[in-house]
Symmetry: C2
């Protein structure tokens, strides 16, 4: 009947972040300047980020020390629990062993504070007064709002309009932490006005919101931009998840055959998976690593591995990644955090290296999985996390069919307390599946920038 | 900058509940049968509750063993963390030390699963198939829904109508766990129909919802009633909170001068406070114990200590408690869990014995306190818990004025993730204070039953 919990002592909390760049057989492709299309250097990023984060972005050191002040804040909720989902195993009647790392215990309710706190810390260190960012579902925005409150930084969030209206309580959470929230596209920026002129009814996208946030950030000396996923330093900060999971599985006397995470920009996935992939790259261990994305935003499974902008207006550097094209506006599925046209370049690189298996799942399957998980384990997963749950259930049922007992580890990246509308709509039969045709994807990709 | 966390090993989780009845200088007044007005015996309660819970209700043993299966479920989220609120102390610039026990880490987000799991367990043991209950804000209903899902019990919840409409996401949470939720007063019961006939626009009350639940429970053999507060056995199950806090404060090398909890029916308050009051009653320790209630439902501060029914229709046994009269319908403040006309008889008894200081606070003060707490500590408290936060801030500011450094412990009984409407309304200036005049209270009390 019981769910088994594996805790770590605070003294066993990781004191450094793990940088997968150190273990790569080949470095990822260079990042290009949006004006010159030439590889950028650290100075090019200085208007956007503090130098400490830029240096992490390009670092190839394996272990990067976590500042003591960041560790002391992490300790409020870290180490997060690792659970053996015995009740779910029983409900599925599977011989598989299912473990999940639960990041929803953070104050903002997801993995995002792992990087929000670090980013706020380094910005504060370098004298920044104000952070501007974008948010989709609101997990990132609320985490940066939380971190901003701790360090006395102003926070301005451009929130994708469909989520702004679909998730008023995420917005309320950001405002409770003291942040200012603006629906994107907005009239406040040239990028927003351009979109509204062309598409007055635009429901927004992460790509558009990023353009607005970047535009505002570069205008003032005391203001920097903060990104909640995609970039190397963001993924780096999330690796506390996988490092803890490794130590906790050791306590459990187990090791995963499959590691599963959902992917939007890639940060919660990378946070869990990179320390495991590192062990694989170093030849110490082997396992399958599965990245689960929504069929309605299939960058890894239907996109092209190509240079593209991170935003819609073409203001960000270009990175080589799996992309659906930066003008792609994904359908309004409830997993707002996964509705991004691109992918973390480091995740894409590892997919190309054959280290990661991408899969796409439909919305209805993810909510059915989330409901089954909630009734078994008591925790309501975020719609994003439901993608990992769905893939886990697929793997566990395959074990049952095949009569094999595999060990599955997945990242329960956040709770769904601010997403109950989605559950209500699902239970009322109002949600739909959605898939892009090859023609639609090809059309979106036709707009990719031509590089070199 | 940091918030300091005190964890306990699972092996240090309490293995018994603490029964304050064992340490009382005088027993509480007898419970009376609603028909005969004579003291009841265990058999009189058998249509409502399983015998194991009835025996706990009247037990005077100091330690009552927690069944291993209940402990194994507790371990999913227990021991809960005790935090030193250093960031709040800094924001208040107070010499006081502030500790809080955080019960919001449970799957349902409050202290309520401590008793929901125990009640579901004992009902299951005695062959019950279905549990019927009422809920105000929804914390209790969602906790019983969670526990019901674990034990395969059907759960039917009568939810106070104002909360049913004000808090659709709490309802969604109960439904996600598989429970059925009905707005009360409903047309489904004689009690509900009688209220609707007299007051077609009734927004409901806990007293009315209890009448409906009790009426349904007694109709079927396989169905029992479950109550989320007030009764001795419910308070008993919550004492894991205070027992853990005692052990955690010992780790911190500290002991409270003041222990604070919010009171509606009294269960989260008692859960934290009773183990401390026990030490006081046994002469081992001394401290102040403060029970904080809303000015809009002031049973302890303006009610009468008298025999009254627990419900509106007069179907429950009569207990001696601080009451505003069982027909009292409190104003629609957002702390729905505190809107109960009566009080746990054991809490009332201890107030009468001079062991507890009751105070009342206004709604606006509670939300201002909650907002300040959220920005300092990162956790959004439930509106109910904000009463304890407000009282804690009062005490801490008094320490600052007086230049004394007291140690304050309060119970953060749950998170406010499903109460963001209330925060939004507060930030928009839409909430109001509310206080009953002495005349209004006197009128409500005029309807008290005459006993012996």
């Amino acid at each position: 009947m019981e769910t088994v919990k594996y805790l770590l002592d605070e003294t066993d909390m990781p004191t450094s972040w793990y940088n997968v760049a150190a273990d790569l057989p080949a470095p990822p492709p260079a990042v290009l300047h949006p004006g010159t299309m030439q590889p950028i250097g650290p100075a090019d990023l200085a208007p956007l980020f503090p130098m400490a984060l830029i240096l992490q972005e390009v670092s190839s050191e394996r272990a990067i020390e976590i500042p003591e002040e960041v560790q002391s804040i992490y300790r409020q909720w870290r180490p997060t629990p690792l659970y053996r989902a015995r009740r779910l195993e029983k409900a599925l009647d599977t011989p598989a062993k299912i473990y999940y790392k639960y990041e929803g215990v953070s104050p903002a309710g997801s993995h995002k504070p792992n990087t929000a706190v670090a980013q706020a810390y380094y910005n504060k260190q370098e004298g920044v007064k104000r952070l501007v960012t974008e948010t989709g579902a609101g997990q990132w925005g609320s985490s940066l709002a939380f971190a901003g409150a701790l360090f006395g930084l102003e926070v301005l969030v451009y929130m994708v309009k469909v989520s702004y209206h679909q998730k008023p309580y995420r917005r309320a959470l950001m405002e409770t932490y003291g942040a200012r929230v603006v629906a994107s596209p907005s009239e406040q920026t040239a990028a927003g006005r351009a979109i509204l002129a062309a598409h007055p009814d635009s429901t927004g996208s992460l790509g558009i919101a990023i353009s607005e946030a970047v535009e505002v950030a570069v205008q003032r000396e005391d203001t920097k931009y903060a990104l909640g996923s995609v970039l190397n330093h963001v993924l780096l900060h999330q690796t506390v998840i996988g490092q803890e999971a490794l130590a906790q599985l050791e306590l459990a006397g187990d090791y995963p055959d499959v590691v599963i995470g959902c992917t939007g920009g890639g940060s919660n996935f990378a946070g869990l998976a990179f320390p495991f992939i590192g062990a694989k790259l170093r030849g110490e261990r082997d396992m399958r690593v599965v990245a689960v994305e929504p069929a309605a935003c299939p960058s890894l499974t239907k996109g092209r591995y190509a240079y593209d902008f991170g935003d819609t207006a073409g203001m960000t550097p270009l990175t080589k990644m799996h992309t659906l094209g930066s003008s792609f506006v994904p359908s309004g599925i409830h997993a707002g955090g996964l509705r991004y046209h691109g992918m973390a370049p480091m995740v894409s690189h590892l997919v190309e290296l054959g280290q990661i298996e991408p899969v796409a799942v439909q919305q209805l399957e993810t909510f059915a999985a989330g409901l089954q998980f909630a009734r078994a384990e008591g925790i309501i997963p975020a719609p994003e996390s439901n993608h990992a749950v769905a893939s886990t259930i697929r793997e566990a049922l395959r074990c049952k069919e095949e009569g094999t007992s595999k060990t599955i580890l997945f990242n329960l990246s956040g709770h769904g307390h601010f997403d109950m509308t989605a559950y209500t709509d699902f239970m009322a039969g109002k949600l739909k599946d959605f898939e892009y045709s090859d023609e639609e994807v090809a059309m979106a990709l036709a707009g990719l920038p031509s590089v070199g």
